[in-house]
Amino acid sequence: MGARRPSGAAFGCGRSLGMADREELVNCVYEAIAQTVGVDRQTLTPETTVVSLGIDSLKFSEVLMQIEETTGLLADDAFLDKAATIATLGDLSALILGLQEASAAAPKTQGAAL
């Protein structure tokens, strides 16, 4: 994975993200997907569907674990309820970005409640 961060790093620390950080977070999501599924990162777009990548429930759990590890964000039940219904990678990125923002509003939370 390209710009891999150490475990527990950066995005879950409750801070607001600038534009560059937001792009990096989205890139982390795409890298996690590319690595887990075994496809070229450059072939992934916001319109790419989860189904077209052959991501079943086990693969999806690996994707989420990878995202947790590389971003420091923690997926909780509320996040997973929404993640269960996503169709595209754009949906997943938006979900993670939106909830990272929510975590920034709760800086005392340990990790980031996705």
Partner: protein
């Protein structure tokens, strides 16, 4: 005639749901007898079950056993689920009766563990009974069906139809919780193998093994039997570690641990229709789900067909 059987079953389901286990047993049998008359898949279920018994337990009375398997299937699907719902909604859970649980407690490791078994009579009660013994387990339900989405137990119930179910299970296991699931409940495409069960090939889903490997936790196999005195007994069978071997080998040990109780109480095991019928199994399971949903709808929507005056009085009460 069908309406009469449905009416009788609906009345009996309500009664059985309120009785202690020792009293409800006979009533549950009556429920099964009523539903057997109208269940559209009875013939196919019995045929495939007889086939499975003949293949795996040659010499056993297949006709009689198949009828008992179907009876247990109906009780498990239509009466036990009401009891589980009562447990989860905090209502008095009359069927908490259980034999000595010291062996059960000793079998539970510290930290995360996957408690698993196959489809047997009363299996839906098992996680509730474990909880009743003070053993914290997450329920893995196939789908919301009759239990509905119980917000009160968010985090304690995971639905295998949810695409995030494996991730939620891993979270629970890594948090040190035990999870109760059937060996075929995580059913991803392409992760299957042919194992051996009672000397015959058996189609297996390997999702549960994948989960144990990722969570680095053991699989604890258990059976549930109803003793002659009416009490239910949970029996720990084996602790299977996934460490250092292939998923298929782990699952074969799980399968092997289930053989003795199946051979001992074949009428209690409901998975004959899956394990014994090869390619037809998934199709029948799918058909059974559809039929069960329709029957449940009929049962829950059934209302007393008494005189209109009585019905309006009952409705206003």
């Amino acid at each position: 005639m069908r309406e009469r059987w449905l009416e009788a079953a609906a009345c009996l389901v309500n009664v059985a749901g309120d009785l202690p286990f020792s009293l409800a047993g006979r009533t549950s049998g009556w429920v099964a007898d009523c539903l057997a008359e109208i269940h559209p898949d009875r013939g196919e279920f019995l045929r495939l079950t007889r086939q499975g018994i003949a293949e795996r337990l040659p010499g056993a009375p297949a006709e009689q056993l198949a009828a008992e398997v179907f009876r247990n299937y109906l009780i498990t699907q239509y009466v036990d689920k009401l009891q589980v719902k009562k447990f989860l909604t905090g209502e008095p859970f009359a069927w908490r009766e259980i034999g000595d649980s010291s062996e059960l407690r000793a079998a539970m490791p510290r930290g995360g563990a996957i408690v698993c078994s196959c489809h047997f009579a009363h299996y839906a009660l098992l996680p509730a009974l474990l909880n009743g013994q003070g053993i914290d387990v997450v329920f893995l339900r196939g789908r919301a069906d009759v239990l509905g989405k119980l917000e009160k137990h968010k985090g304690d119930i995971i639905y295998s139809s949810d695409p995030t179910a494996p991730f939620r299970l891993l979270k629970a296991l890594s948090g040190g919780r035990a999870v109760f699931m059937m060996i075929d409940q995580i059913d991803p495409k392409g992760i299957t193998a042919t194992l051996q069960l009672l000397g015959q090939p058996a189609h297996a889903q390997l999702g549960i093994g994948w989960l144990a490997e990722r969570a680095k936790c053991p699989l604890i196999t258990m059976s549930l039997e109803q003793r002659p005195d009416g009490l239910l007994r949970i029996k720990p069978l084996a602790e299977v570690s996934p460490a250092g071997r292939k998923t298929e080998e782990t699952l074969q040990e799980v399968f092997s641990s289930l053989e003795a109780p199946i051979a001992e109480r074949p009428e209690s095991w409901l998975n004959w229709y899956i394990a014994g019928c090869g390619k037809e199994g998934p199709q029948l399971r799918s058909t059974l789900k559809t039929s069960n949903d329709a029957l449940w709808k009929g049962l829950t929507e059934w209302e007393p067909a008494g005189p209109p005056a009585l019905r309006s009085a009952a409705g206003g009460a």
